[in-house]
Symmetry: C2
Subunit: 458 residues, 2 copies
Amino acid sequence: MSSPVLLAPQWIAPVAPPPAPADPLRSAAPHGVLSGHAVVIDGDRITALLPLAHAQQRYPQAPTIPLPGHLLTPGFVNLHTHAAMALLRGVGDDLPLHRWLHERIWPLESRLVGAPFVHDGALLAFHEMLLGGITCVNDMYFFPEAAIDAALLLGIRSVHGIIVIDFPSAYASDPGDYLRKGLELRDRMRDEPLVSFCLAPHAPYTVADEPLRRVATLSRELGVPIHIHVHETREEIERSVSQHGMRPLERLAALGIVGPELIAVHAVHLSDSDLRLLADSGASVAHCPRSNLKLASGIAPTARMHQLGITVGIGTDGSASNNRLDLLGEARSAALLAKGGSGSAEAWPAARTLRAMTLDGARALGLDAHIGSIEAGKQADLVAIDMSAAELAPVFDPVSHLIYSCGREHIAHVWVAGRHVVQKRQIADPTAGLRVREVVARTAVWHNRVGEILSGQA
Amino acid sequence: MSSPVLLAPQWIAPVAPPPAPADPLRSAAPHGVLSGHAVVIDGDRITALLPLAHAQQRYPQAPTIPLPGHLLTPGFVNLHTHAAMALLRGVGDDLPLHRWLHERIWPLESRLVGAPFVHDGALLAFHEMLLGGITCVNDMYFFPEAAIDAALLLGIRSVHGIIVIDFPSAYASDPGDYLRKGLELRDRMRDEPLVSFCLAPHAPYTVADEPLRRVATLSRELGVPIHIHVHETREEIERSVSQHGMRPLERLAALGIVGPELIAVHAVHLSDSDLRLLADSGASVAHCPRSNLKLASGIAPTARMHQLGITVGIGTDGSASNNRLDLLGEARSAALLAKGGSGSAEAWPAARTLRAMTLDGARALGLDAHIGSIEAGKQADLVAIDMSAAELAPVFDPVSHLIYSCGREHIAHVWVAGRHVVQKRQIADPTAGLRVREVVARTAVWHNRVGEILSGQA
C-alpha cells in the first residue's frame, strides 16, 4: 500500500545530476541546490524530487512535512570506524602510537572484547552517529553480530567488515576461522535490507600473503568490497619494503587486492606511483583526517587524489583515536586540510566535500545505486539541517554553510530507508531511546573495569 | 554587600597551580583536575577554591549551584577575531586569498562598513562566542564603539584593537586619525570594567615605518599590547624582503614592536631565527589554525613554539575566513595540527591546550592577573561543560574529553565577572535575547544588500 509523504525543506542539495532539466519551474542555485522543491518518499524509497506545487498536485492526499530554514541532503556515509571502541574513548589520548597500542588499546581489548562489549560500545557509537546525520556506517570490529543487533535496534544502515587477521582473539582463532565466522554471519543476515558486508583484512602488516589472496578471490566471487588499513604511517611502508621488497600497496596489487573493490583506509603516505596505482585501478580511499592528525600519522594528499579522479569518502575512525564520531566535523577538517595541505584554497570546495561524505562514500561501498544522493528510486536516507540558529544568520550558500559553519548540533531530522529515526534532535523510537539510556548507565561498569585493568588490579 | 555563591561541579580544571597543597581533603587527579570541590564566587570575583564540605561550612548561608556531570573551567579567551564580519560569513568560501579579498571582502566592506554593520555583526558574533564558552574576546575592526555597545549588552569581556592602517576607510582617514579615534574611545571607556584596548596596526605590509614607530612608543607609554597580523603567507615575507631587505618580524623588531607586548597573529611561516626572536623577546602568538587552513596559508609550527616557551593563545579569526566562532573546536584543531604537523602525538596534550585557550590567551593580552584561571582573587569568568550526554559516556579524563570529544553543544553555563550570562545553553538576560532576535531578523536586510553589491546592482 502506497502512502507518500512530502518533505518540503527550504533547500535541497541532491548531490546528483539535477532533475528534469526541461522542467520550467526548476530554480537553479549554486552547486545545484534547489529551492521550492519537495522530496517525495514512499515506504523506504524516494519516489520523486520536484517543485513543491507539482508535488502537491500530484499527491493531493499526501501529508507535507514543512522544514522552513532547513537544508535537506543525502544521509552521511561514515566510510571507516570501529564502533565498539566508543567504550575506550579517551583512555589513551596524547600518547604516541606504539604506547597507545601496547599500553592501552591492546591490553584493554584482550581483556574486554566480547559480544557484550561490542553491543554496548556499538550502540553508543551508532546513537552518536545517527544524531550527527550518519545514516550508513562501515564498521570493522570483532563480534559483528553484536554490532548488527545495535544497528538494527537504532535503525542505522550498516556495513560490517568480515575481519581477517593472522592473530587469534576472543572472536576467532586464525584467518580461516575469521573468514568462516564472517561469511556465516553474512548468510544469516541475507534478508536484512539495512545490513551488508565487506571483506576487512586488518592491514598488510597483520595479514600474510595466503589469506590476502583468499580475500581477493572471495571479493571477486561474492562481489563485495575489500576494506583495509594501508599506508597509515611511514614505518609501515619502510617495514614492508625491507620485509617484502615492495611498498604495501604494491604488495596488495601483486596479491590481487587493488581494484575497484578496494577501500584503502587512511592512505596518508603515498608516492606518485601509489597515487597512480589507486587512480588507474579505480580503488577508493577512506580518508580519516582527524585520526591521522591525532596519532601524528600525517596529512593525506587529498587534493591530489581529487585531481587524479580517485573516489575519496570520509571516515571518523574509532573513538579511541579521534574521539568524536562526527562526520560533519570530519568533512570540515577534510576540506580545510585539503586546502592547507595543498596550498590551494580552491581544493575540496564545499559541494565536492558534501559529495565525499555522501555519494563518494556510497560508491566506495558499492552502494551508490541505492544510497548517497537524492534521486527517485534511491533509498530515503536523508538529513535535514536546521539553519535558523542565530549563529548561522545570514545564509548565503546553504552547502557552504553546511560544511564550514554548521555543527552536528544543527542536525534536526534523520531518515533511514524512509523511517524517521531522528526527530528534532532526538531518537524518535522510545524503545531505542530507553536502550540507549540503559547502556549509558552501564558505562559506569565498563569504566570501572577499564580502570582495574589499567591499574593492574584485574 | 557580600553574597557568595558556591558552584559545585563534578570536576574543576583550575588551569593554575593547585590550591593549598597542605589541605588533606584535596583529591589529586590527572592534570590537576579537582573532584568534590567548590568554587566560591562573590560579586565579580572568585573568592575561594576548596573542598565542597569546607566551603559549605565556611559559607553556611551561601546557595550552592550543583553541577553534576559538569566540568568547570576558566572562560575561554578568543585571542583574535573580526567580530563584525559575522555578517559576511560564507560570502567568499573556497576562493584563493587574492580573489577572496578583491572580489568579495573589500568591495563589500567598502560599501557596508559603518556603525550599524559593526553593531549587528558584532552582536551576532559575541552571541555565538558566549554560547560557546568564550568570555573574553580580542576584536580588531573599524567602529569599535559599535562593537563595544554589543559586547556590553551581552556581557562579554572584550578587548578592542585601536586600528592603524595606511589606507582611509569609512572610519578614519589616515594613521593619525585612526590612532586619535581609538585613543579617544579608550579614554571614554576608562570606567567600563569589561572593556580594554590594545594597539592594532593591521599588518607590516599595510602600515609604514613611521606609524609603526608611534605604535611602539604608545605601547610602552600606555602599557597596552600590540596586536598585528604577521607572517600569515609566504608572499608577505618575500615582498618584505624585496621591499625592505628584511623579513616582516625583523622589520618590526627594528621598529621596536617585538617584545612582551607583541601578539603576533597567525605566525604561520617562521624561520628558526623568527622563532628565536619571538621566544627571546617574550612575544606571544595568536594561533588561528582553521583560518590558516581555509585560506591555504599553511600550518603554524606550534609544537616548536611550545618547546621554545613561546606563549600561544588561540583565535577564531573572523567568520569570513573560518566560519565558526567556536574556540573549543579551534582548540581541538590546534591540538590535532600540532601533533600531525610535528609528527609527535604527544605535542599539545589536552591540559596544555586548555591552558592555551584560557591562561595563555589572557597572558598575551596582559590580563593574566585578572582572568584565565580559577584562583581566588581573579574575576569569575567561568564555563561549565555538561558531560552527561550519551555521546560522552564514559568519561575517563574530563580535560581530555573537553578537548577531543566535547563540542560547543555541551557548554551549558557561562559566567563573566560573576554574572551568569548563559544558563542551560541560553542567553540568560531576556533583553539581550530579544536584541539578538531583532538582529537575526535584520540579517535579511544585510543579506539583500550583500547580494545587490556582489551582483553590481547597488
